[in-house]
């Protein structure tokens, strides 16, 4: 160790943390290291030494004092000392030598010359993730100009006058941590070994969207993991301004995000990816999918995200491409009380006129005030697809609806259909976090942290055009997005035990208004469509978890139990069309839909480490998991029909569809609900696993298996289609090996089996309508579970702790891959799609990942990092798919062949400023397949972001971000010609936070 020393000369500048008069400070050490949990009894009063080895007593009167030192009831020593006055302080170093306490008492009076006697704080800063040293962290003494940097071993030494101090440790990647109430006693060195986590659990980040992926921390975690792992911490999300899990994930090698919501890992879409929140499986809010929309999780509550790309037995069996493990924030290390405010502008959208419509009075909260609620008269009459047979005369037929009832139902609806233009407001938001850690009388600490967050932003598509076959035109789409979050974690921690309770409420409301104007040259029709859509998504979760260490930390038991509910509420979605200036009654649809998914999840994991010989270690992991998810989808579609030719349908819609025209019998309501719009589904998984890892020193070999039982069911309450069940029991083995060739080079290999289950509605015996596109989706009850053989090879080379390059090659052979594809269908059904087990898919990919420091001085650091992946994913089509698509094989859906990320960053350490340039790019990927035609492609795109952060002082910090700087056109094409394109504009945002 070569500690950096800095002798404090300006002792007089110490204004804070002066030692109180009449204090006795005990410092307990053994072999130069602090001793904790030693009982010091002073005049009958007991104190336990803390983890820093100190125990202190206030209000020491003048006179003789008796001291007993004991541990676990065993007396180690006893002695006495005298103080002459109540102003005199005592510093007592108790050193344990051969199990006996040897004391050294120094008395002094504050304000006198001997009080200036100096001591030291010395120690090592280690990473929680890697247990390796953290280099280049700045350690400063609160209220002084004093500061040192940790050296290559993470070591540091501070020379300070005796007293009590607060230290701040900061590192560009690990964030900041405060250490409070540290004692320095004369002529002594206070040992301080600190750990820091890249998850940044010491500080609370506001929601300013500047997060990005920092390979250095990923590498740090990876190095210690037996699987190929990437990691993103809050500090990284904050630094690069990523506001949600979805935006942060796209920084990771081999990961892309589709539609701002769903991750594609290593060329594999949602069905091959698993996600967990705090270790539990998550419910989804999308009616057609099983995977989780990641934009639901704001950076404000996330503690970190790991993306593990190779399979290990403790992961869900469907984590083929990878598993996205999201962790919400844990207990704070220090008191937190922080408020942040944000403002944002879009150069195209803000203050320009965008589409909107009359909503409710609490829209700004993201909560509908009842304006869009389905009237009870509608709810009670529109049961499933039970037709609304209008019988203009007679009575008594229960299958008929008579005129008075019809008018009652129709007039219970608000007939509000017109689109207005409003000026788009700037984005704005705030977040507030508070928390603390309280030492208890026992050996543990209590802590809590709560956060609330609100954000209101508007996004719009500009210059949006469509040009598909005979149809060409333009559309305008605006979306107001309101996010609200509340989060509370509370818990108890000791060195061996952690108990946490986490309560999460996430809400995300989108209010979309879209108008399109398209000319169909083949039918010679001008088609104008309107869509108004209000979607509230909500995640409510309560989780309890515990971590217990036993037997000198060689055994660990982790458990978690959670309940969660997701909801997607879409009240009164309104859509209608005019063709050639004439309102078409059959196109008006008012849809009320609600999805609720209840999830119950529990798991327990046990780890035991033992030495087989002096050199060979064995780690055994085993665990159980159970998850139960129940989903209910209820949907009602309300339409209108004319009863005669009396209406002038060239008028404005509100002059046609209104109470008067229902009352005078010109219009009637129609039930447009289909039998399969509503469904109930369940998805239950139970699993058990065991694995053993043998550590030969330079080589670790892991072998294990997971057994997974699953059962999924689907029922349509209003359809005669049979209920549907898929049961399966699978064993998934894994073998992997790591070889540390030397300090710098590490090689890894893994072979595993995984699986992929059909989506909940994909097994349906019936046809459903896609809620987004209204196209028919035919289920396939014959679908079987896909089985995947995975092979991963990886080499990692570490130039230094922060600099590395890694190269990975992988291959995945998927038997019976499920693809969404075209089908034998007729008429309007021909635009529908189905799901089919294709013959096989073969993915081969390489990934390159690096981080290099460009600058490393006491004041400046800089880095360049990036990743690139090339993935060739070919699916060999089944006979039916080959016949219908007109080819035997093609690229896997949603998969870009090339994905690249690049980041350049600089930090000015003294002023705590950082700036980062981020580049993200993907190549063409298949959006949808077509029958005997080229597939629809989402065209390659590059986005560029610039993020800036400035910590003005201990209390204040400023963040700014320019997002989507080049504002590249988002486009979709087919056969080389663009069929849809638009711009989203450049976002500029700034945030300010203040810590009280």
């Amino acid at each position: 160790m070569k500690p950096t020393r800095l002798l404090l000369t300006a002792a007089s500048s110490l204004l804070v943390s002066q030692v109180m008069a009449g204090e006795a400070v005990f410092y307990l050490i053994e072999d130069g290291a602090a001793l904790k949990d030693v009982t010091v009894t002073l005049n009958g009063q007991k104190r336990l030494s803390g983890s820093d080895g100190f125990a202190s007593f206030d209000n020491l009167p003048a006179g003789s004092h008796s001291v007993v030192v004991s541990q676990m009831g065993e007396q180690l020593g006893e002695f006495q000392f005298d103080t002459a006055s109540a102003a005199e302080n005592a510093e007592i170093v108790v050193e344990m030598i051969g199990g006996e306490a040897i004391e050294e008492v120094v008395l002094y009076t504050p304000g006198q010359a001997d009080a200036q006697l100096a001591g030291k704080i010395s120690g090592v800063l280690l990473s929680d993730e890697t247990a390796g040293p953290i280099v280049g962290a700045r350690i400063s003494v609160e209220g002084t100009e004093v500061g040192v940097m940790t050296d290559a071993d993470g070591a540091f030494t501070l020379d300070l006058p005796r007293g009590q101090y607060n230290l701040t440790v900061s590192h560009p990647n690990y964030g900041k941590r405060d250490v409070r109430n540290l004692h320095v006693i004369g002529n002594n060195t206070t040992a301080l070994n600190l750990g820091m986590s890249m998850a940044g659990n010491g500080s609370i980040e506001e929601v300013v969207a500047v997060g990005s992926y920092m390979p250095t921390t990923g590498a740090a975690q990876e190095r210690d993991s037996s699987a190929v792992l990437e990691a993103i911490g809050t500090e990284q999300m904050a630094r690069f301004g990523d506001s949600s899990a979805a935006s942060a994930l796209k920084r990771v090698a081999g990961v892309s995000v589709v539609g701002g919501q769903f991750a594609v890992v290593r060329g594999l879409q949602g069905r091959y990816i698993s996600s967990t929140l705090n270790g539990g499986l998550m419910p989804s809010t999308d009616p057609m999918r099983r995977d989780v929309p990641l934009d639901l999780f704001p950076a404000a509550v996330l503690g970190g995200i790991n993306i593990q790309k190779t399979y290990t037995p403790d992961m869900p069996g469907d984590a083929t491409g990878g598993i996205i493990q999201m962790t919400t924030k844990g207990l704070p290390d220090e008191p937190v009380n922080k408020l942040s405010v944000d403002m944002g502008m879009n150069n195209r959208t803000t203050f320009s006129d965008i589409n909107s419509y009359e909503g409710g009075s609490s829209d700004w909260l993201g909560v509908d005030d009842g304006t869009r609620e389905m009237p009870s008269a509608i709810a009670s009459n529109f049961v499933g697809s039970k037709g609304l047979t209008y019988c203009s005369s007679g009575s008594g037929d229960p299958l008929c609806t008579y005129p008075a009832e019809m008018v009652g139902m129709a007039t219970s609806l608000d007939h509000n259909y017109n689109v207005q233009q409003t000026s788009a407001k700037p984005a704005r938001g705030f977040s507030y976090g508070f928390g603390d850690r309280i030492e208890s009388s026992g050996d543990g600490e209590y802590g809590y942290y709560g956060a609330v967050q609100y954000k209101d932003a508007t996004e719009a598509r500009h210059d949006a055009t469509v040009n598909d076959d005979d149809r060409s035109g333009s559309y305008e789409r605006s979306k107001r997005k309101i996010d609200t979050t509340a989060y509370l974690v509370g818990g108890y921690e000791t060195a061996e035990t952690t108990l946490l309770s986490k309560t999460t409420i996430l809400r995300k409301t989108d209010n979309t208004t879209k108008t399109s104007s398209v000319y169909d040259s083949s039918a010679d029709q001008q088609i104008n469509k309107v869509l108004m859509q209000w979607t509230e998504r909500q995640f409510l979760g309560q989780q309890f978890s515990g971590e217990h260490l036993f037997a000198d930390d060689t055994q660990q038991l982790n458990w978690h139990v959670g309940v969660a509910q997701t909801k997607r509420d879409e009240p009164d979605r309104r859509a209608y069309s005019y063709i050639n200036g004439v309102f078409i009654p059959s196109t008006l649809e008012r849809r009320f839909s609600e999805l609720t998914e209840d999830a119950l999840d529990a798991g327990v994991d046990y780890r035991i480490e033992t030495m087989l010989t002096d050199d060979i270690g064995l780690t055994v992991k085993t665990g159980l998991m159970a998850s139960q998810k129940d989903r209910t989808v209820d949907m009602t579609r309300v339409g209108v029909a004319t009863t005669g030719a009396g209406l002038d349908t060239t008028q404005n819609i509100e002059a046609i569809v209104n109470d008067a025209n229902f009352q005078n019998g010109q219009l009637i309501l129609a039930n447009r609900t289909t039998n399969t719009d509503s469904y109930e589904a369940s998805d239950n998984v139970t699993a058990a696993y065991a694995s053993g890892e043998v550590d030969f020193g330079d080589v670790q070999v892991l072998a294990g298996a997971r057994m997974e039982d699953s059962e999924q069911t689907l029922d349509y309450p209003y359809s005669s289609a049979n209920s549907n069940k898929l049961k399966s029991s699978d064993v998934l083995p894994v073998v992997s090996a790591n070889w540390q060739y030397n300090e710098e080079l590490q090689l890894r290999a893994a072979v595993s089996k995984t699986l992929s289950r059909p989506g909940l509605t994909e097994l349906s015996e019936s046809v459903q309508y896609d809620p987004e596109t209204d196209e028919e989706v035919y289920g396939n009850p014959d679908l079987v579970i896909s089985k995947i053989d995975n092979l991963d090879l990886r080499a990692e080379y570490y130039f230094s702790e922060e600099e590395n390059i890694s190269f990975a090659v992988f291959n995945k052979m998927i038997a019976d891959p499920i693809e969404r594809t075209v089908m034998d269908a007729s008429g309007s059904a021909a635009s529908g799609t189905t799901f089919r087990n294709e013959k096989s898919a073969d993915l081969t990919g390489l990934e390159l990942d690096f981080r290099i420091n460009t600058l490393d001085t006491d004041t400046w650091t800089g880095f360049v990092s990036g990743n690139y992946s090339y993935i060739d994913a070919v699916v060999n089509l089944s006979d039916d798919s080959a016949r219908l698509e007109g080819k035997d094989s093609r690229q896997l859906q949603g998969q870009s062949r090339n994905l690249a990320n690049f980041q350049i960053g600089f930090d000015h350490l003294p002023s705590a400023q950082s700036i980062t340039l981020l580049v993200n790019s993907f190549s063409d990927r298949i959006h949808l397949t077509s029958r005997a035609d080229d597939p629809i492609i989402e065209d390659a795109r590059i986005t560029l972001d610039l993020a800036y952060e400035y910590e003005i002082d201990e209390q204040m910090s400023v963040k700014a971000k320019a997002g989507n700087i080049t504002d590249s056109r988002v486009s979709y094409s087919q056969g080389g010609s663009t069929i849809e394109s638009y711009h989203e504009g450049m976002d500029i945002s700034a945030g300010f936070s203040y810590e009280f």
């Binding site: 209008y390 083949s522 039918a523 029709q525 059959s586 359809s719 209204d774 008429g827 189905t834 035609d933």
Partner: protein, 479 residues
Amino acid sequence: MEFKKKYLVAALLAATTASIVGCGGSSSSSNKDTGNTDTDTDTEVTYDFVTCNSDETVCTLEGTVDKDYTMKAGVEYRLNGFVTVGAGNVELADAAAVTAAKSAGVTLTIEPGVEVKAYNTGVLLVTRGSKLMAEGTAAAPITFSSVQDDNYDGLGEWGGVVIQGFAPQYGLGDTGVCYGTGTVCNVAGEGGDGIGYFGGNDMADNSGVMKYVRIAEAGKVAGPDNEINGLSLQGVGSGTTIDYIQIHNSLDDGIEWFGGNVNVTHAVLTNNDDDDIDFDEGFQGNIQYAIVLKNQSATATPSGTNDPRGIEGNSDLSSNKQVSATHAALSNITLIGGAINNGQPAAKLRGEVNADLSKVVATGFASGCLEVKSSEATNVSVQDMVCDSTDALLKNDSPATGSLISSAAAITLNAAGAVLNAEAVATSITADVTAVDNGSDFAFDATTYAGAVNPNGTDNWTSGWVIEGSLDTLTAVNQ
């Protein structure tokens, strides 16, 4: 939400029986119909799909017709939801399953004069392997309409009649016949979530007989952008007979052929909101004697997402989705358009379709009599096709063979629908027209007039059986 379909049905049945009382003295909620007997056994046969009132004057059909059944004259029948004849609309795995489906087929017989009134959800679906025997007479035609009111004036008040067969269907983009290199087809049909699958390799398949049948007020919206046609013929084979058929006030097409080989003669297509004669997906067949009369109101506009034409061949899709196997021959057709056809021609043939039009008369289509685009490689021939002099003859390009004749005077008609203009009875008219060979030995009647009805008055085939008043506006055309 453990609210299952079964309970719903039970609740509805209970409600129905509470007010109407179940028929036949059967103690259960399932019902027998003493008019129908099973010849194989002496035991009383129950028909779970029928519920009647106490005096058996009104019977409601619902669910799957799983055994032979006859709808009797004098009873008013109602259709509630999909009334599915047989169970051939499931996916059939192999040839053995096809054979089994054929032998498991049932026959629904409708006696002459029966009135069938459908609730809003009502659809009559005859699945492959099963038969509909609906043989009315000119004096006692069979009628389908809605329960909404007693007239036939509504539009889209119920679903419609869908016939499915084992005849071939051809996919978009010339991806070939539905059975590919095998023998089995499972083509998802248009019409919503109860339709299921049709198709096969049997061109001569027989789905029964429809004769003197009138279908009114059909075309309910079956799903987003999806309306059921008055009569949908999905893979129906040439063994089927469809003769003397009227589709009136359909919110969608009159008759649409989705592949198949069934010939149709004597069709009256009145006041339909979309196309009247619509064929695609490899339909190979012949149509003789059809009269199309659109809404004659000067302010009429479509009520559905429709672009109404008299004849449409091939679907309204881009040229790279064409189906070259489609081949129809049409003779003696009268097409009378109106304001509702704004922008649309009398006949539109799209993409690589084969169509032979002979003795066709069109009037009232301001934007043109015939639309083809040579760029789409259409293969259309016309012969003795007369268009109103006040209408444009062509929208876009000329047909591959033949040319259109412009009438000297505006087209006028008599009450039976015969064209009175001189061009319609010109001596140059070719009597013999070649039929499409679809294996049915169909031959066109040799006629020496253009249009659907012989002007010499010897065969006023529209008289007597069509919906009263539905052809009243004929004589007002161009008068």
